[in-house]
Each structure stands twice: as structure tokens, then as C-alpha cells.
């Protein structure tokens, strides 16, 4: 059991938990993730380690409620415990020690971006962050990102704050304005990462993305998480989750992420009916 020592509601659909997990906190590196399971009947849900505190023995997870499992998780309160948390999983991100790096983050992708921006900032890398969301009320971790960035650009799809448009467009604007980046890190929904790598591809700027395929074990045992990178099949949970974005087959990744659409709808419906009936969740 892993105790939630702090809970924050970042937006109506985004929650942050600080979880007591000393063994994981001791080992965690930016780029790695955990798998959590909430209850005996629960799914194994992969979530990025958004921050960690080795001294306090805690890790932070930030998640968006997109379906039944994340919505159920969001119901847990401070002081409650999560049944299983396993990690750290995946390979640590290979972060540069100098130069200028653009961190492009969309939606809940800000959470996985933060530990990388923080680590680079601490090493003296110039971090230029472009953070976006559909609308201003869905922006998260603005303060945290600001604290580890040399420049912070806010974007919203609907123009309710900052730049009116996608984060990838903001990146294009900066590049066209003469900004130079040694590397780009882009994390968010698949379409956003896919658009971002198309902005940098013609310029040949190395662009890292963090893939989030459907997973089961997270240890290389099942192959559910396979992605095609540079024409080769990789298991995202052990070979990733960070990959060279110019090599990733995004079309396949998007298709594979839809594999359980029908079941996800059913689960959401069952959950909804369960709530309405006041049944146990």
C-alpha cells in the first residue's frame, strides 16, 4: 500500500498525488514512470513520475481523468492508499548538459515534461518552455514550469490565455523568429507530438518524444506497448518511453491507442451507471 500524502486538484479533470514510495523515490530519474493499480479489480495504469523527493521518500504523479481507471483513481483522497505502485520503469531520459532546449508540452504532458526541464535547468541548460492546453482553465503546473525555465510561453487552443493556437505552432513561430535550439523535447497527446516533430524535421533539430502506448506489465513481458521506431519494433516500457520523434511511426501509435475504444466506452458507461445507482466503485 502506498499512501497519498498530498492531493491537489489542478483542473476539474487533472489531479496531482504525492505518494509515499521511498524505494521508487530513491531510484527515480527524469523520464521514468510507475504503474499503479487501484484496487483488486483495477487495471495497471502507467503514469509518469512527475517529480520525486529522495529525502522525503515521495514521488509525484499527475494524471488526467480520461476513462474509468483514471476517474476512479481521482476519487482517492489525501491519506488514502494506492494498492500497488511499481517502478521506476522505463529508461531515464538522455538529457543534455548544456545548450538551449525547447520543452514543448501539451495538456497533461506538462507533468512528464517538468522533471526533465527541472533536471536540465539544474545543470545549466537554457530551458525554453512552451506549455499549452485546450483552454486556460486546463493549464497545469504553470508556476512549477516557470521556476525551471528561462523562458515560458503559454498557449491555448481557444486563445483564452497567451498564444492563440497549438504549442507546435508557437514553436514554429519562435524558430521563424530566429530562435535556435540544440534539442526539442515534446510531450503530450500523440497528435501534438506528431505535429511538433514535423516542425523540427525540416530543420534537422533532434526532437525527443515520450510515447504512451497501452501497457499491461510495464516490464517487457507482454508486448502490448510495441511501437515502431526507425522501422524496428520496440517495447516502449523497456526501450522507452523517450524516443527520437523523427523515427516514430505516429500513425501506427495512434491506431494502436484506439484498440480498446469500444471496451473503454462500455467501462465508462458501467462506471456512470454505478455512480448513478450509488453502487460501490
Amino acid at each position: 500500500m502506498y499512501k497519498i500524502v498530498e492531493k491537489a486538484v489542478l483542473t476539474p479533470v487533472t489531479k496531482k498525488f504525492v505518494v509515499l514510495a521511498p524505494m521508487i523515490a530513491k531510484k527515480a530519474e527524469p523520464g521514468q514512470f510507475v504503474i499503479v493499480r487501484n484496487g483488486e479489480k483495477g487495471e495497471r495504469i502507467p503514469l509518469t513520475i512527475a517529480d520525486f523527493d529522495r529525502a522525503k521518500g515521495t514521488i509525484t504523479i499527475v494524471f488526467q481523468e480520461v476513462g474509468r481507471s483514471t476517474a476512479d483513481l481521482g476519487l482517492l483522497r489525501e491519506g488514502d492508499s494506492i494498492l500497488d505502485v511499481v517502478g521506476p520503469l522505463g529508461l531515464p531520459a538522455e538529457l543534455p548538459a548544456s545548450g538551449r532546449v525547447a520543452c514543448v508540452a501539451g495538456g497533461v504532458g506538462v507533468a512528464p515534461t517538468y522533471p526533465k526541464a527541472k533536471a536540465m535547468h539544474e545543470r545549466g541548460v537554457k530551458v525554453i518552455s512552451i506549455v499549452g492546453a485546450r483552454s486556460s482553465d486546463l493549464l497545469i503546473m504553470e508556476k512549477e514550469m516557470g521556476a525551471v525555465s528561462d523562458e515560458l510561453h503559454i498557449c491555448t487552443d481557444d486563445g483564452s490565455r497567451g498564444f492563440h493556437g497549438f504549442v507546435s505552432e508557437k514553436l514554429r513561430e519562435l524558430l521563424q523568429g530566429g530562435a535556435r535550439f540544440d534539442e526539442v523535447i515534446a510531450i503530450g497527446p500523440l497528435p501534438m507530438m506528431s505535429a511538433t516533430v514535423e516542425v523540427t524535421r525540416p530543420l534537422g533539430i533532434r526532437t525527443w518524444v515520450s510515447l504512451n502506448p497501452i501497457m499491461v506489465d510495464g516490464t517487457g513481458m507482454c508486448g502490448a506497448c510495441r511501437v515502431t521506431v526507425g522501422g524496428k519494433t520496440k517495447f516502449c516500457c523497456v526501450d522507452g518511453p523517450m524516443f527520437d520523434g523523427h523515427q516514430v511511426d505516429f500513425k501506427e501509435a495512434m491506431r494502436r491507442s484506439q484498440m480498446y475504444l469500444e471496451q473503454e466506452r462500455l467501462a465508462a458507461q458501467v462506471r456512470h451507471e454505478g455512480c448513478a445507482a450509488g453502487g460501490d466503485r
Binding site: 500497488d84 506489465d217 513481458m221 501506427e252
Partner: protein, 462 residues
């Protein structure tokens, strides 16, 4: 003396494909006593030679004949700590029963069924809870809670060691919980075996991936005198043919893990989904393939197919499971090999293209090598494809541990006699060393390593 063995009652094939309950129902006391009566009690019993852990077969069968069931299980457990599992899943026709003298003229004694009977009798009567022995002051770490790890842990605990098992998944049991389905090995049986090992004082910690959450060096630093690696062979193989990443193509590991460990057959009550097409093709001919294809039927597939490149004679699956699969209506395409998976415009599997095979010269495994028949390509319409092609050891641990040597195919290099790896104080056994094999061989390896670890630690003391 009846030549025919006593049949084991089983669920009706038509009914059982609608549920995940156990197929074979086990002997009643009368049946067990009758079957035990067939054993000749050979002076130099060949059957024992066929058992990797040398269960004292005629002796336990004699006890069953005398209705001393407690005595029977005591004899079995003196060499086999997981009899309820072995009685169900050992490939007996290749081991103990293969060498039974009765097999020469008629059918061999049903050793496995009798072993299962004795173990189930004890589970029903209430297992004697062992009292943990006195601690000898030393700690040993066991990595992985499959049959190899459980056996090594149990044996070491009996020798007075404080043992901690570290398991990567959220549930202990290894392949016995995530792979082998409920209808062949009920999870309550595995659970009971795990509880028995825990009652010996063994501590079990789940959600810990050794090599990631904690390294072997750190285990030594925190006071463990030796480490046993029973990490299994969890890495799935794919064929490398076009279309393998289409939606609807699964590895058997994923298919079975979703179904068994995560209980997707009870979705949406359990939250992990599985997508089952109307027609499912499983590629392979071993136990894993049989389990996957029989799960497909129970998950609601209208047609479940086996595609296997050799002939039935070469199939490595247990005979009983092959028979069960046939009774349940699984359709077999033997001497057939997939060459490509075909998708629809949305990227979902719609068919597999296969080629016919014929058997040529024997290969390294001694089995005749299948070769393609030119121009024999044909397509089979299916919506789900499950690749059950075998597995190799997962490299997560060996990569993160200096000093461990692995074969090029991933198996850990050990000293056959002791199970010692190339790193001092680290032992290994089971599928992690051999690649996918059997429960009983994994147990045997766990036993051998436990004894060697005991020697090693005592040797260091003096």
C-alpha cells in the same frame, strides 16, 4: 488387474467452453483407491526415474491404496513441495508415466492424477501449518515467485534462513498465475502453495523489480548472504512477419496475462479489457498455444484455430490438453505457417496468409524440420491473431547486474551442478536458465540451488 486406467471425470466439453472453471474434476476417494490398486509396487520402480524430483511413487500409491491419504501426501511432499500444481500440469506422459511398466502392455498408472488427488485431499482436510524453524542468522534473497523461486525459498526457510522473495508483478506465482489459465490450474491452488511457503516464515514482497527498484549489489549491501534468481522467461517472441503490429495481434503473454492475471474474462467487473474477434487464430503448438486457444473459446470466439508448422506428433503440448482442445472444438491447421498478417483499411486484422509445410530432415531438436511447399499460400479470415511462439529470459535484470553472464539467446550461464551463476553468491534456476520449460524442472532447479546456497554460506562461515 484392469488394463485401462480409471477415467477422470471432467466438465462436459459443450458446457466448459462457457466458463473458466476447472475442466478436470479430480478423482473421488473410490476412484483413487481403484487406480492405486493397478500399481504393481515395482521393487526398482522405473517411474521414479522419470520424475525430475524423484517422487517416491510406489510408496505414496501404496498409502492411497491403504486409504492412508495423509501418509501419501507426506511422502509426496518429502520431495515435491508443489504437488497440487504438478499433479495438474506435469507432462506426465513424457516423465513418470512414460516409464511405468504397465504402459508396455496397456495404460500406465495415472501417477499425476493420484498425486493431484492426494494434494487436493490435503487442501480440503486442512494443510498442516508448518512452524517456522529457528533463524540461523543468515538472510537470502529470492527474485521471482514462480515455481523455481517458491521452491528455493521454501527449502532455504526449512534450513533456517530468513528468506525474502521479491516479485515484479502485483501477485505471486509466476507463470502459474499470469499464464496458465484458471480452467487448468485454479488460482486458489497456487495461492495455497504460496501461503504454505509464507507459513515457513518466508517474506514476500510484490511490486519490486530487481534490477530497477533495487539492484543485486544493494541486496548484498543490505545483508543478504546470497541471491537466487528465478526470474523466468518472460520475453515474448514475435515472428517478424509483415502486419504483426496491426490492431488485434497479441503475444500469448499479453493475451493470457490480460485473461488470467487481470481477469479480463470478467470485464467490465474487472477493469482490464481484452478484444476478442469472432475468429481467433493462435500460432504455435505448445502448452501456451493450447491455453491461448482454449481461452479464446471461453472469451466468446465463435471459431478458434491453431496454426502450427509441424505435425501433431511434434506438438510439445501435454497430451491431455491437446485432447481437451480437440473435444472443445478447436480447429487445427497442421503443417501450416503464417507468412503475413493482413489488415483492413482501419488497421485491424482481417486475415492471415499462410503457407503449407512439409517435414524434411531432423533439425537440432531432433524433430523433422518443416519446409515451405512452394505456391501453397492461402488466406484464413480471422480478426485476432495470438503469437504463441515461445519466450526467452527478460534482459532487465542481467543488463543491470555486473558480473552476470548470459548466453546469446538470453539464458543465464550457470554451473549445472550447483546453479551458481558467474557472479559469486548469485544462483539461478528455472526458465531464466533453460528458456521456457516445465514447472517441475523449475522446481528441481530451485531445490538444487537451495542446497548449493546452503553449502556456499556454510563454507564462507568456516
Amino acid at each position: 488387474m484392469p488394463l485401462a486406467r480409471t477415467a477422470m471425470p471432467a466438465q462436459d466439453p459443450k458446457e466448459r467452453t462457457k466458463n473458466f472453471d476447472e475442466v478436470a474434476l479430480g478423482y473421488s476417494e473410490e476412484m483413487a483407491v481403484r487406480e492405486a490398486g493397478r500399481c504393481l509396487g515395482c521393487k526398482k520402480p522405473p517411474c521414479v526415474e522419470g520424475c525430475p524430483v524423484f517422487v517416491r511413487i510406489p510408496e505414496f500409491i501404496q498409502r492411497i491404496r491403504e486409504r492412508d491419504f495423509a501418509g501419501a501426501i507426506r511422502i509426496i511432499k518429502s520431495t515435491n513441495s508443489l504437488p497440487a500444481i504438478c499433479g495438474r500440469v506435469c507432462p506426465q506422459e513424457e516423465q513418470c508415466e512414460k516409464l511405468c511398466v504397465l504402459g508396455k502392455k496397456g495404460e500406465p498408472v495415472a501417477v499425476g492424477r493420484l498425486e493431484r488427488f492426494a494434494a487436493d485431499w490435503e487442501l480440503a482436510a486442512g494443510v498442516e501449518r508448518p512452524s517456522p524453524p529457528r533463524w540461523n542468522g543468515k538472510k537470502v534473497a529470492v527474485v521471482g515467485s514462480g515455481p523455481a523461486g517458491l521452491t528455493a525459498a521454501g527449502d532455504l526457510a526449512k534450513l533456517g534462513y530468513k528468506v525474502t522473495i521479491f516479485e515484479a508483478l502485483h501477485a505471486p506465482g509466476g507463470v502459474c498465475v499470469y499464464g496458465i489459465p484458471e480452467f487448468r490450474l485454479p488460482k486458489r491452488i497456487v495461492h495455497a502453495e504460496v501461503e504454505y511457503v509464507k507459513a515457513l516464515g518466508v517474506e514476500l514482497v510484490t511490486d519490486i523489480i530487481v534490477g530497477r527498484s533495487v539492484t543485486i549489489d544493494e541486496l548484498f549491501e543490505s545483508g543478504y548472504s546470497a541471491v537466487f534468481l528465478g526470474t523466468g522467461a518472460g520475453l515474448p517472441k514475435f515472428m517478424g512477419i509483415p502486419g504483426e503490429n496491426l490492431n488485434g495481434v497479441y503475444s500469448a503473454n499479453e493475451w493470457l496475462t490480460r485473461t488470467n492475471l487481470m481477469k479480463a474474462y470478467r470485464f467490465p467487473e474487472y477493469h482490464t479489457p481484452i478484444k476478442v474477434g469472432r475468429k481467433v487464430a493462435v500460432v504455435g503448438g505448445g502448452n501456451v498455444a493450447m491455453d491461448a486457444v482454449r481461452c479464446a473459446l471461453r472469451l466468446g470466439a465463435e471459431e478458434a484455430h491453431i496454426v502450427y508448422r509441424r505435425s501433431e506428433k511434434e506438438m510439445p503440448a501435454r497430451l491431455e490438453e491437446l485432447e481437451n482442445a480437440k473435444q472443445e472444438g478447436v480447429i487445427f491447421h497442421l503443417l501450416t505457417n503464417p507468412v503475413r498478417v493482413l489488415g483492413d483499411e482501419k488497421g485491424w486484422v482481417r486475415a492471415i496468409e499462410c503457407v503449407k509445410m512439409e517435414l524434411g530432415e531432423p533439425d537440432a531438436s531432433g524433430r523433422r524440420r518443416p519446409v515451405e511447399v512452394k505456391g501453397s499460400e492461402f488466406t484464413m479470415d480471422v480478426e485476432t491473431v495470438v503469437m504463441a511462439l515461445g519466450t526467452t529470459p527478460n534482459p532487465v535484470l542481467s543488463r543491470s547486474t555486473p558480473g552476470l553472464t548470459v548466453h546469446d539467446w538470453g539464458g543465464l550461464v550457470i554451473d549445472e551442478r550447483t546453479g551458481a551463476t558467474t557472479r559469486e553468491g548469485v544462483y539461478a534456476g528455472g526458465d531464466a536458465v533453460t528458456g521456457s520449460a516445465t514447472v517441475i524442472l523449475a522446481m528441481g532447479a530451485g531445490k538444487k540451488a537451495a542446497a548449493a546456497i546452503h553449502e556456499y554460506i556454510r563454507g564462507k562461515e568456516s
